[in-house]
Symmetry: C2
Subunit: 519 residues, 2 copies
């Protein structure tokens, strides 16, 4: 069980068919494979040995895919870096992982300058952009041209394949070590659970450094599908790419899907090729799902739930539950049922499974549970107990095994002794027609401990005041759950690399100097 096996299978079965398209460059699986063997040879030529870490800091491209296969082919460990980090955070990831080689593209040349003197382990920097190679960097295409193809190192099973750092919403980053087995077992679910199929045409619009689209790199290859790359998500570029390349499949985080289906020009594009979209990484407001189903009536939606530590899939809700009528109406709000090979249970604080319908922590066991946190056995021990990953997410399970995520345990607000799940409040606010984005946090209150506070960004030209938002909520949810105060922002809310709203940042001004755990 090893990641490069799927690549070899694609070469064996569809060698002369299109594998990657990027900015007009087209390559077959045979060509793609040949470049990967050369990249592995080049890395070995740079002194990269089995188990060494090789990082990348770049926008999406075909070379990013070559990296994801070339590094394990060389026996090394990939470390994809979040493109939205500050230089100090990038330095932390590179140094913490001990990465020896770094691949970067044009967008990060300036960042590299800012990192000068801060990098402890990086020996070589490889430029994978399309311009002139800056002084002091190695040229990717030249390295490949001069390298001898390497034999596959054939690491597999419990060998570490990559380190994916989590963080953004939860303080200091942790490196999640995923094995070949972790990621391969996830791959086995892409066809039965996510609607992948042989020869599909996938758009990499979500950032490839994140495990969600990272999963697709390996899953699409397992299906010998075609990879299309755009540097990053914008509604216009995504809509254009779908229309131009007759894209059939893709993954979007909720904020992206929201922007896409509410784009004023969405009607100008032919989106009829779209067969299936996976969404996830954070809960999707009802109004967005409904709008997506209106705009793309022929497209099948799957709601996937998981986390980096689960490589990442735990549960999913398939297209048969994305219906507005009948007994399963609204079931898409659920994160879904355990995928194949994966166990899910809801536990109390002692790890004992609770009754169906009772809220507790979502715990997950299976071949997809991470090897552990890089260099942090203490955190690993806290997070993985008897093989069960403690997700930190609160949820409940219904009689059919559908999991409803109520909140990050950390995002739960305790107000006057009552638990308020911020996601439920956000869902209510989102149903107000003027609202584009909303986040709900607990803020300190001497009487109640915490009170419910909303931060809202309105749609262009739309108007609403705090009373309107609060009054709207009172029509939908219990009084103790309704916001007591509302802040309005002119700009979109701050997002993590995974497209999640950074509640840590939103909370900070309220909690500084107090004892609420905000990370």
């Amino acid at each position: 069980m090893y990641l490069t096996q799927a690549l070899k299978r694609a070469v064996q079965q569809r060698g002369n068919e299109l594998a990657t398209w990027c900015a007009g460059r087209e390559r077959t699986w045979i060509e793609c494979h040949e470049r990967i063997t050369r990249l592995a040879g080049a890395l070995q030529g740079l002194g990269v040995k089995a188990g060494d870490r090789v990082a990348i800091l770049a926008m999406n491209s075909d070379r990013y895919l070559e990296y994801f296969y070339g590094v394990p082919w060389a026996g090394a460990v990939f470390v994809p870096i979040n493109t939205r980090l500050a230089p100090a955070e990038i330095a932390f990831w590179l140094n913490d992982s001990g990465s020896e080689v770094l691949l970067i593209d044009d967008r990060f040349i300036e960042v590299l300058a800012a990192l000068d003197g801060q990098l402890e382990s990086v020996r070589e920097v490889v430029y994978i952009g399309d311009g002139e190679t800056p002084d002091g960097l190695l040229d990717y295409e030249r390295l490949l041209a001069e390298a001898s193809p390497a034999d596959d190192a054939e690491r597999g099973y419990n060998d570490i394949a990559g380190i994916f750092y989590t963080g953004g919403t939860t303080g200091r980053s942790k490196g999640v070590m995923l094995s070949h087995q972790n990621m391969t077992c996830n791959n086995f679910n892409v066809i039965p659970s996510l609607g992948f199929k042989t020869g599909m045409r996938w758009l990499h619009a979500a950032p490839m450094f994140h495990i969600a689209d990272g999963l697709a790199v390996f899953g699409v290859t397992m299906c010998a599908g075609v990879h299309f790359f755009i540097p990053g998500f914008t509604p216009a570029a995504t809509l254009q790419a779908i229309a131009d390349h007759r894209i059939t499949n893709g993954l979007l985080v909720p904020t992206m899907l929201n922007m896409l289906v509410n784009d004023p020009n969405v009607g100008d594009y032919d989106l009829s090729s779209l067969e299936a979209i996976v969404y996830g990484a954070s809960p999707m407001p009802e109004a967005v799902v409904q709008r997506a189903m209106e705009v793309l009536p022929e497209c099948k939606f799957t709601h996937a739930y998981g986390q980096t530590e689960l490589a990442p899939l735990a549960t999913c809700t398939g297209p048969e539950y994305h219906v507005l009528d009948g007994p399963d109406a609204g079931m898409y709000k659920s994160a879904g049922q355990a995928v194949l090979g994966v166990e899910v249970k809801i536990c109390d604080e002692n790890g004992v499974e609770v009754d169906r319908g009772t809220v507790g922590e979502i715990r997950v066991r299976g071949p997809n549970v991470m090897l552990g946190y890089w260099n942090r056995p203490d955190l690993t021990e806290q997070a993985v107990r008897d093989g069960w990953m403690c997700t930190g997410d609160g949820g409940r399970m219904d009689e059919r095994g559908f999991v409803f995520v109520v909140d990050r345990m950390k995002d739960m607000i305790i107000s006057g002794g009552e638990n308020v799940y911020s996601a439920e409040v956000e869902n209510a606010i989102h149903q107000h027609p003027a609202v584009a984005e909303a986040a709900v946090i607990g803020i300190p209150d001497d009487k109640w401990g915490e009170t419910v506070h909303a931060i809202v960004h309105l749609k262009d030209g739309a108007q609403a005041d705090a009373d309107a938002i609060i009054g709207h909520c009172h029509n939908l949810i219990a009084g103790f759950k309704c916001p007591r105060s509302v802040d309005f922002r002119d700009q979109p809310l701050p997002l993590s690399g995974a497209g999640k709203i950074l509640k840590t940042e939103l909370r900070k001004p309220f909690w500084e100097g107090r004892d609420k755990q905000v990370s």
Copy 2:
């Protein structure tokens, strides 16, 4: 990664839905699970410990499924026994595996008497039939009623799950040790490769002792489908069960499918519920596939290829290749492409991969390759080289990775220095309208080394003589491949438990006292 996980998932997601139907008995997943925990408790009560072997000798039933889950639930190892063996062979399997407990049904009470004094390890015999429990045997239902439910032993990954004996066509039986991982990885392929789906209705008509239908026990459970059991295959019982229970899916070996679609009464049954049939275990004559596609025009066919040592899947050809027109016409003759997670290559005698189109030995690598042969490290070493299973099957691969099995290496006839693949000759003979069954073997010849000899069983009432058969072949295949002699049999040809024609037996009278390796 462990087999009982899929059972727990079925209970979590479809606990109150039908799980098994057998002779009018219906049980939900919750009921089925409860009985399995009691069976495990009962086995432990009989002194069965982790790793101990528990055998079964029975026709298909719901209790056979309970056995397949209850044994690993107790931490023990299942050993399903071929129902068509002679007593001495049964004794060999039981003694060789060191089975301590044996489950049997009514059909084998007499066999048990014949085994008196020959069994070395069996301590307890459990009666799983529906009649009065014979003296000296333990009653299955009573054991379950009196047992406490056991906790799942949760063995998994590389722990041995079962021993499946191969044999019949190839001399003395060998016990194939399959791990939880071997069988689970196979399970991951049932949806993407074999057309399984959630809630499917599966008919166990093929014998459950064989890994082919054994795979379905675990695969259907992974899909939380419904299991229907008939004691064994007959065309009438199978047709009736499909119609009565609106069966959607099943697996048949070629000889069974042949009998089914050529049954004179096939038109009397409503078979419209059938959605997908998997066939395999031996190559399918063209005429049978074509007839099956005529009789069941709405049913999707998948040709699966593998062997017990591969748990068992290696390749498959899906319904999109079961077409009579267009560029893929006739591709169903191929064993298909490597399934997910599995590598397949064609090698010369030194293990070096040959060019596409060249015949060599089919070799397979992946998480499905057996742990080894039970107590036969010498044979394991010969069969598994650098992780690659040497299948003993000859084949070639086309440009798209489709494998064409030409023959068992051992069934290849060398006549005057030319290689003749018996399957190709059998295929030609099968196209003669009078032929029901045909087998082709090499028989000794002083001039040519071997000559091609056919053994034919004609359809009821049909007539043909040797000249007619040989002349027919000359219209289809090269002269050196045509039979030189033809024997006609009144009875169907002898079959192994897997439904393969026992060429060893057919060869014996010709080769006795000579040096051809006939086993």
